[in-house]
């Protein structure tokens, strides 16, 4: 049985946690002063990969496109996942990339990782102004089956298939959990609500073992780290950076406060009277509602 290879694509993001954000006087984010960290959605993707390591001893490769400082984020990612390989795709010409151009870099990067990937994990989306497209686009470029909003998964290493639970949000109505089975390889965008569970003693012991190994590795992370530029990942120059980015961000606006259209009415009287009045009101408004 071949070992399972998993990759994770992660993103460096401003640390939005309390006390760590710096603002400009006009209320916008001061990027230079705000610390950058592994994005919270990316962290969940890393955890999902770690689950495969604990359960099946999977090899983990983590890749990111970002500036040279993203190196420390990769070190942190290794600390929480005991990753075997860390890749930073960094090049000036990547600058100004939209999601599509980013996906091109990540695709090329993933293809340069050691071994053929059985699963590629990405976060649900980034928290600093991204639209959740990088994952699916990378999957599409890699020609991999895409599973989004995954909240749980189990690999069967024998048959090389995966069973995944997906949280499908039927907007405003209710959520359903869909269970799907797919042959490997697959690309998984992990849902923010994903939480790995380790239910047996042997898994918990493996968990501890890998955590400890991770602490050792992360201290010496350069040994696991590779820096690639555009030429090294053989990315098509037409498809990356500004030239590969069809998106034009016209303007980012703060969401204006909506005008309240509701009207408040204060009801008084004794408790009983109040309840009676409210019930009457509710009856009245229900009767005018159209129920299909």
């Amino acid at each position: 049985m071949d070992a399972i290879n998993v990759a994770v694509i992660v993103k460096l993001e401003p640390d939005f946690s309390e006390g760590n954000v710096s603002y400009n006087p006009d209320g916008t984010l001061n990027r230079a002063e705000t610390k950058n960290i592994l994005g919270p959605h990316s962290a969940i993707a890393v955890n999902a990969a770690f689950y495969a390591k604990v359960k099946h001893g999977a090899r983990i490769s983590i890749g990111t496109m970002g500036p040279p400082v993203a190196e420390s984020m990769l070190q942190y990612s290794q600390l929480i996942s005991d990753a075997d390989e860390l890749y930073l795709y960094s090049d000036r010409i990547f600058a100004g990339a939209d999601t599509l151009a980013t996906a091109e870099v990540l695709k090329s990067g993933i293809l340069k990782m050691q071994g053929k990937m059985d699963i590629v994990f990405s976060g649900h989306r980034a928290s600093d102004g991204e639209t959740g497209q990088t994952g699916p686009q990378t999957a599409w470029k890699l020609g991999m089956t895409f599973l989004g909003n995954v909240i749980d998964y189990e690999i069967d290493p024998e048959s090389r298939t995966i069973r995944a639970k997906r949280l499908v949000r039927l907007q405003g109505i209710y959520d359903v959990v869909e269970e799907v089975e797919a042959p490997l390889p697959v690309f998984i965008a992990i849902d923010p609500s994903y939480k790995p569970k380790f239910n047996t003693v042997s898994q918990r012991l493996a968990y501890e073992k890998y955590q400890k190994e991770a602490r050792h590795r992360a201290q010496d992370f350069k040994q696991y780290f590779k820096l690639f530029n555009a030429a090294q990942i053989e990315a098509d120059p037409k498809l990356i950076g500004i030239s590969g980015s069809p998106t034009i961000v016209y303007k980012v606006e703060r969401i204006p406060k909506g005008k309240a259209t509701r009207q408040a009415e204060i009801i008084d009287g004794s408790d009983q009277e109040q309840i009676r009045k409210i019930v009457a009101k509710m009856r009245q408004s229900l009767s005018t509602m159209v129920i299909k």
Binding site: G19, F198, N199, T200, V201, S202, R204, L205, E208, K209, K212
Partner: protein, 622 residues
């Protein structure tokens, strides 16, 4: 079902020692600990001893952990040990360093979170080599025997089958009640211990206690600080904190209930203690209410940040090792530069933000736990089927006068349990007659068991010599005869011999009384004590503030159920619960389990279990 050779339940100092020993002997064992992290549920006073008894051999911490003396996971070696009798502002002190050093290789102060984390590293490494290890955040809820297998059931993981179990799950051992191996301990067999950890920068502490870097002091207190209860207070120096606490007989507390924290507060308010714990504390200035809201907020944040920076830097500056490290790593050019920066921050705090610096003390953590009185409650048969009980779970702790020892006793037990289990594994025989009885005999041979049963006349002599300045008439009224005999060279042997024939159980009611812990010390202090004064009155946090500072991971399922809401015992819990979890309602007492520190005080008349894995209290110091 997964199978392992041995399960160890509880990752306190006893359980961890068992794991380390078994693993060193090449056996596979898995340790289950309910706390989120090892060390998060353990508290102690505490001084950890290593002993060299005249007769027999104890298994000491440094025998089990080869790196103990080089890695120094402890706080300080205790080199001075003093007992203080108190009455208001008067203190009479008796140096008991000789008693502390009696039959000891060393005694060092420890904080359980740090110490057990270090034990964990050592034990885990050894255990992994044998295919075992440690799983924390897992609460064992049941054990059953089925088809020749022993099955361990937890709240969190799938069941596992094992061949033998070492139960080191502490004083409130569910494994013990659940299997019926023993009854719950009764109040007359227990002490309640309550402690606060107080911050004090290392260098300042060294100066104040006139001690070097690896020296430490222990101070014990009796007299009016007991608020008329049987027990006493302690103050131990750690590296850059102090442990200040109180340990009292639970039945004495039940007789005349007093809030446990008031016992600690009484100690903190004693002028001698107040003065020992004092520090320089920044106090926020008023923020101008006329400023814009945002500006007020900005100032509040800035002040918080400054206090943090100043405190951390000051701690580092006053610690020689930290100071050296920061200079070595090039953060500062010299200690002088550090000092200059520190005072510049301080200046800014006062001039720019209108802060003041006052004398007060800084509390970091409040904690509480029951302590088994081994003289009265040690299990005569510390086993049940293929389960061996060790440490507090087996009710083993030596608390005799100023001797407070549970940690070392638990480690010694655990090693004996590990050895017995290893022997059983070799023969694949886990019958009570082969495993349990062998362990029981080994524990019986421990010098600690001997100390739990009888008075050591050499120890007594040291004690009496230290107290020779105590005027005889103070104690004469009640103990005249006894003291006379004990103090006399010729009669001591005879008196001790006679006392030992009677046995501790018979003579304890004479020794452990309000007379010895309260009246005699109070009178001593009044007649012979020196007046002590403190330059300030400590601002003692309320119990609500103390609880608010603790870290909890609340369990949605209550782990304690009140069975007799109107019983006298339960009514007293409204006072005796150290974190005030009990309220008096119309129909009797009600528990509000948020804030429960799992001390066990209310266990006697409740359905009591530890919270599920990772839940409940999470101590940072211990």
């Amino acid at each position: 079902m997964e199978k392992y050779d041995v399960a160890i339940i509880g990752g306190g100092s006893a359980g961890l020692a068992a794991l380390k020993r078994l693993s060193t002997l090449g056996k596979q064992a898995v340790l289950f600990e309910a706390g989120e992290k090892i060390g998060s549920k353990n508290i102690s006073g505490g001084i950890l001893y290593s002993k060299k008894p005249k007769k027999g051999k104890t298994h000491n911490v440094e025998d089990i952990y080869e790196n103990f003396l080089t890695d120094k996971p402890y706080e300080r070696r205790i080199t001075k040990y003093v007992l203080h009798a108190t009455s208001k502002d008067k203190v009479f002190s008796i140096d008991l360093t000789a008693a502390h050093e009696y039959e000891a290789n060393f005694g060092c102060s420890v904080l359980m979170n740090k110490l057990n984390q270090w034990f964990l590293q050592q034990a885990q490494e050894a255990a992994e080599k044998q295919g075992g290890g440690i799983v924390s955040g897992v609460h064992v809820k049941d054990i059953r025997w089925e088809a020749g297998q022993t099955i361990v059931q937890t709240n969190e993981l799938d069941e596992v089958a094992v061949k033998a179990i070492i139960a080191a799950d502490g004083v409130n051992s569910e494994i013990a009640y659940m299997t019926g191996a023993r009854q719950k301990f009764s109040p007359s067999q227990l002490y309640q211990g309550v402690k606060v950890v107080v911050k004090l920068p290392e260098g300042i502490m060294n100066e104040r206690f006139s001690m070097g870097e690896d020296e430490g002091a222990a101070h014990l207190f009796a007299g009016d600080v007991t608020l008329d209860h049987i027990g006493g207070g302690f103050l131990y120096t750690n590296r850059d904190t102090l442990s200040v606490g109180a340990v009292y007989h639970l039945d004495s507390l039940l007789e005349t209930p007093v809030e446990p924290y008031e016992l600690v507060n009484a100690l903190l308010r004693n002028p001698m203690v107040s003065d020992l714990i004092r520090d320089e504390v920044p106090v926020r200035g008023e923020i101008d209410k006329n400023l814009a809201k945002e500006e007020q907020m900005r100032i509040r944040f800035a002040v918080t940040k400054m206090i943090k920076t100043w405190t951390e830097m000051r701690e580092a500056y006053h610690s020689k090792s930290e100071r050296d490290r920061l200079v070595r790593e090039g953060k500062y050019a010299s200690p002088e530069e550090m000092e200059a920066q520190l005072s510049s921050i301080r200046d800014q705090m006062t001039t720019k933000y209108g802060m003041k610096f006052e004398t007060d003390y800084v509390e970091a953590e409040y904690s509480a736990k029951l302590v088994p009185d081994g003289k009265r409650c040690r299990m005569e048969r510390p086993y049940f089927k293929n389960i061996l009980f060790s440490g507090d779970a087996a009710g083993r702790g030596i608390f005799v006068g100023p001797r407070i020892e549970g940690l070392n006793v638990g480690i010694d037990d655990a090693v004996r349990a590990a050895d017995a289990v290893a022997r059983a594994l070799d023969k694949d025989n886990f019958d009570e007659s082969y495993l349990g009885q062998y362990y029981s005999q080994s524990v019986g041979e421990s010098p600690y068991t001997h100390d739990l049963k009888s008075i050591d006349k050499d120890y007594l002599k040291i004690f009496l010599d230290a107290a020779k300045d105590v005027p005889k008439d103070i104690i004469n009224s009640k103990y005249g005869m006894v003291v006379k005999m004990m103090s006399s060279k010729t009669l001591r042997s005879f008196a001790v011999g006679f006392a030992n024939i009677l046995g501790y159980e018979k003579i304890l009611p004479v020794i452990e009384t309000v007379e010895t812990y309260v009246k005699v010390p109070t009178e001593l202090a009044e007649r012979l004590g020196k007046s002590v004064s403190a330059s300030y009155t400590p601002t003692i946090p309320s119990i609500a503030q103390r609880v608010a500072k603790l870290k909890f991971n609340d369990d949605s399922i209550p782990h304690i159920r009140v069975l007799k809401p109107t019983s006298e015992f339960m009514k007293k819990m409204t006072i005796l619960c150290p974190t005030r979890c009990y309220l008096m309602e119309k129909n009797g007492v009600m528990i509000q389990h948020e804030g429960c520190v799992e001390c066990g005080t209310c266990a006697e008349e409740t359905e009591w279990s530890h919270p599920r894995g990772e839940k409940g209290i999470n101590y940072q110091f211990g």
